[in-house]
């Protein structure tokens, strides 16, 4: 494919619209590392600190994946914090009598049901998602108060505690380079077999091989808390689905233009409702993990979580208007927020400034994205689509005579 490279600004060249948060995170980490080194503190990028940040970010990270899905579908969900609190309260009040399996299943089912209610009201009744989920956020917090009677709920029996710990506490060590490297080699091989050619595949395969060998030889295990691995697995699956499946494509189409999607034969109601259900279920999982971590929950648990999650999605470049966004950059947005918090902690800067900085960063990020999109739109207008002859544009081959090509086209 020829690239139509016009004179583009730095913002465009760096693909700021798509990757801005990655640069921002790298910059932030670099600054924090330099400052810690200069002030004689332990290595900021040391394994423990990184594991710490990831652990702290994991619950928000899980939620931001699904928040991104809701945002891509063109909706909005404020109720995740309350749904999580509901799930924590349900799981902890049931676990002593019914055991961990029933407790967790019940909690997640209730959370998914709450998501379904959100989706049905938004899609079938047609009320704005902001209003609906503001309502369910408040109402479900009320349900939590009723369930807990305003008190802290604790898992009492020791078997419950053990079961909960087995879900949340502890670390898994994964030799990530080996796995990633082998996956890359297999992927590149499969794509090659399927008839794809090109440098990107070679790079992928070669890089994968190097990574696998290095990981194996160097014994580079990654030891992270379980929720971090949950986050990683969920992010990976969601990214694969959104990026590579028909379902993902239709989700983006629904969010980009619901009416055009409907008139293209897409079941728009399904693609609007299911994200709410998934988000509800994910909030349920987060609630269970939260309850498991503390062995207890109180009525104000996870209060305000939704705003952190939405902020992370915005930092990750996900549009509030639907049709665009990536779960990976959203998760990086979450990491960015928690890195700021961690940095304040490690460097012992007054925590008073933290909210101020986070708020300013959010607005600056949104500003950068807005400017980058505007520039892209303008670049598009400045390059009138009349440049190359049609047909020749495709891959440098001479334009096929129009008439036979059309006949060919219509045969399909």
């Amino acid at each position: 494919m020829q690239r139509e490279k016009q004179r583009r600004g730095v913002l465009d060249l760096l693909k700021v619209r798509d990757l801005g948060i990655v640069y921002a995170l790298i910059l932030l980490v670099a600054v924090l590392t330099a400052v810690s080194a200069a002030t004689g503190r332990p290595n900021y990028l040391g394994g423990d600190n990184v594991a710490n940040i990831l652990d702290q970010a994991s619950l928000v990270g899980i939620l931001v994946v699904f928040m991104t899905i809701v945002l891509v579908s063109g909706n909005f969900d404020l109720s995740v914090g309350s749904i999580g609190a509901l799930s924590a309260a349900i799981s902890l009040s049931v676990i002593d009598e019914r055991g961990v399996v029933v407790a967790v299943a019940l909690a997640i089912a209730a959370a998914a049901a709450a998501g379904l209610v959100n989706g049905l009201i938004v899609q079938v009744v047609g009320i704005n998602a902001f209003i609906v989920t503001l309502g369910t956020m408040t109402a479900l917090r009320g349900v939590v108060l009723i369930l807990t009677d305003g008190r802290t709920i604790t898992a009492e029996s020791s078997s419950s505690r053990t079961a909960l710990q087995s879900i949340e506490a502890g670390f898994w060590t994964v030799n990530f380079p080996v796995i990633l490297g082998l996956l890359a080699v297999i992927g590149a091989g499969a794509a090659f077999a399927a008839g794809h050619r090109g440098r990107r595949l070679a790079v992928l395969g070669g890089g994968g091989a190097v990574l696998a060998i290095a990981g194996f030889v160097g014994d580079m295990g990654f030891r992270y808390a379980k929720p971090v691995w949950y986050m990683a697995a969920i992010t990976l699956v969601a990214w694969l689905v959104l990026r590579f499946t028909v379902v993902g494509r239709r989700l983006y189409a629904t969010g980009a233009n619901a009416e055009a999607a409907r008139l293209s034969g897409i079941n728009v109601a399904r693609y609007k409702i299911v994200p709410f259900v998934l988000t509800g279920a994910a909030a349920g999982v987060v609630g269970v993990l939260y309850g498991a971590k503390l062995g207890a929950t109180n009525p104000t648990a996870l209060n305000g979580l939704e705003l952190t999650v939405i902020a992370a999605a915005i930092l990750g470049g996900t549009s509030l208007f639907g049709g665009s966004g990536s779960v990976i950059t959203s998760v990086i947005g979450a990491l960015f927020l928690f890195t700021i918090a961690n940095g304040f902690n490690v460097l012992n800067l007054g925590a008073n400034y933290q909210d101020l900085i986070e708020g300013v960063v959010l607005i600056v990020a949104a500003g950068v994205y807005t400017v980058a999109s505007r520039r892209r739109a303008r670049a598009g207008q400045a390059a009138p689509p009349e440049a190359p002859a049609p047909g020749a544009a495709a891959d440098g081959q001479p334009a096929a005579p129009a008439e036979p090509a059309r006949v060919e086209a219509l045969r399909g």
Partner: protein
């Protein structure tokens, strides 16, 4: 102009309007309106009516020519200037503040510190008496019907002390009773000295209501005569301006008479927009739907496609009834190219390849669930070449394409998906001549390959050029059916605008 002689309220002379794109919308138009006079402004689509109104309303500046208001030359640079002088324009899409009351909307332009509700109510009563209308002053506009909103917009105009009221297609989306109300208002206003410039496709209304008619064609005035001296025949002739180009039809291969019936529509109804439409299409047949704005032509196509949840009646494909949903329609091989391609047909932020594949994604996927991007791009490249889409490549964003090229992308979406019944709503609206010809050729090609095509188009000459048969739709009903070779542009305009006396016989 010597003093003492009669001075026109409005006199536009030699007005030209060239858009930055180079399109000449008006090439030397003269228009005059006397005080209290009702002047009809008619013309085919693209004749320049809208541009002329916008120049008059101060929304566009004329490239050349003069505008004299009450005998004095004017250089209105904004709508506010024109309004201050006394020109009130009521556009088709009525810009009212929907959450405010009728009273607040009518006096929206009123400045000054002190105003009392009671005072405004009295004033509104006076205005209502003037046009012989009643409306609840405290209802919010969003509670009102389209017809009532139209009247609020008219009230807004006369509340500003308009000496000339410009009405752009005021009755296009109104029910019969509501239209009468507008007519009554126009008659009363004219009697009380307010001039009206009445723009309409409905020639019966024009003949009934106006004192004089100005006909535009291709940016020029081709007739300016007293209504009393006009017949429907001369009016239609000056609008159309030429005999039908029958030559264009020679290329159409008629479908065999024994071709199977693909699409059957039986008694399709939806509110008062569609009042029992039945028709059938054979494989290889192109049928035109001739209807003016508000005739229900878009509603018909949407209802057939299952996109109108309020519709009733049956649609059969190959004799099998079609469930009422766009999804079922797509699965059964129907394709809709909607009139408003920006909001209904395309994903502006998606590349050409993602637009072209969206309706047929499983077929382009591995295991029907994993889209094969290379095949999608390949299809987009094919479409770019076959449809002569002017774009840098399959990665071009559709929102950045010109109208004609974007429309071709909408076609591309359906061309490869195995669709056999094409519903085309104004497929060539807002498209340049070259792309238009491409699309006409494409429609013929579709029919040659055995598809059934239903085309709605407000440009009847194009409709005749492309279709085998034309059904005329008026106010949600099929009022006539003609074989394309046996009718004319002229006859269709008459039928669609409700002039032709044959109408009753045909229906």
């Amino acid at each position: 102009m010597p003093s003492g002689e009669h001075v026109d309220l409005l006199s536009m002379r030699g007005v030209r309007k060239v858009y930055p794109s180079g399109t000449v919308a008006l090439s030397g138009v003269d228009l005059r309106v006397g005080a209290g006079e009702v002047v009809g402004l008619v013309g085919a689509n693209g004749a320049g009516k809208s541009t002329l109104i916008k120049v008059l309303a101060g929304a566009h500046a004329a490239s050349e020519g003069t505008i004299a208001w009450e005998g004095r030359p004017q250089a209105w640079s904004s709508p506010a200037d024109a309004q201050a002088a006394g020109v009130a324009t009521v556009y088709q899409h009525i810009p009212l503040a929907h959450t405010l009351s009728v009273l607040e909307n009518v006096f929206l332009g009123r400045t000054g510190w002190r105003r009392t509700t009671a005072g405004l109510e009295r004033e509104l009563d006076g205005l209502l008496d003037r046009i012989g209308y009643r409306v609840d002053a405290h209802a919010t506009v969003e509670e009102l019907s389209i017809g009532q909103r139209q009247m609020v917009a008219i009230l807004q105009g006369i509340a500003q002390g308009a000496k000339l009221l410009v009405l752009d297609e005021p009755t296009a989306s109104l029910a019969r009773g509501e239209r009468e109300v507008v007519f009554e208002a126009v008659r009363r206003l004219s009697k009380s000295g307010t001039a009206v410039l009445y723009v309409s496709h409905f020639l019966d209304e024009i003949l009934d209501l106006t004192d004089r008619v100005t006909v535009l064609r291709d940016g020029r005035v081709v007739a300016d005569e007293a209504t009393a001296g006009l017949s429907e025949d001369t009016l239609v002739r000056s609008i159309v301006g030429r005999e039908l180009l029958r030559v264009e039809q020679r290329e159409i291969d008629l479908p065999p008479a024994d071709a199977p019936v693909l699409l059957e529509v039986d008694d399709l109804r939806s509110g008062d927009r569609l009042q029992g439409v039945s028709l059938s299409l054979r494989a290889g047949e192109i049928v035109g739907v001739a209807g003016l704005l508000g005739s229900g032509r878009s509603e018909l196509l949407h209802a057939i496609f299952g996109a109108d949840p309020n519709a009733s009646g049956t649609v059969r494909i190959d004799g099998r009834p079609l469930p009422r949903s766009p999804r079922a329609a797509v699965a059964a091989g129907l394709a809709l190219v909607p009139e408003d391609r920006g909001s209904q047909g395309l994903f502006a932020d998606f590349e050409i390849w993602r637009n072209a594949s969206i309706a047929d994604l499983p077929a382009l996927s591995r295991a029907r669930g994993l889209p094969d991007v290379e095949r999608e791009r390949e299809r987009a490249r094919d479409a770019i070449a076959a449809l002569k889409i002017k774009a840098p490549g399959p990665d071009a964003l559709v929102g950045e394409l010109s109208g004609g090229n974007a429309q071709k992308v909408v076609f591309a979406k359906w061309l490869y998906s195995g669709a056999r019944v094409f519903l085309l709503d104004e497929p060539t609206a807002g498209i340049d001549i070259g792309a238009k010809a491409d699309i006409v050729e494409l429609v013929r090609e579709l029919a040659r390959r055995g598809a059934a095509v239903l085309v709605a188009d407000s440009e009847f000459s194009e409709l005749l050029a492309v279709s085998h048969r034309v059904v005329v739709l008026r106010r949600g009903q099929v009022v006539a059916e003609r074989v394309s070779g046996e009718t004319s542009d002229h006859e269709l305009v008459s039928l669609a605008s409700g002039l032709e006396k044959e109408m009753q016989r045909a229906a």
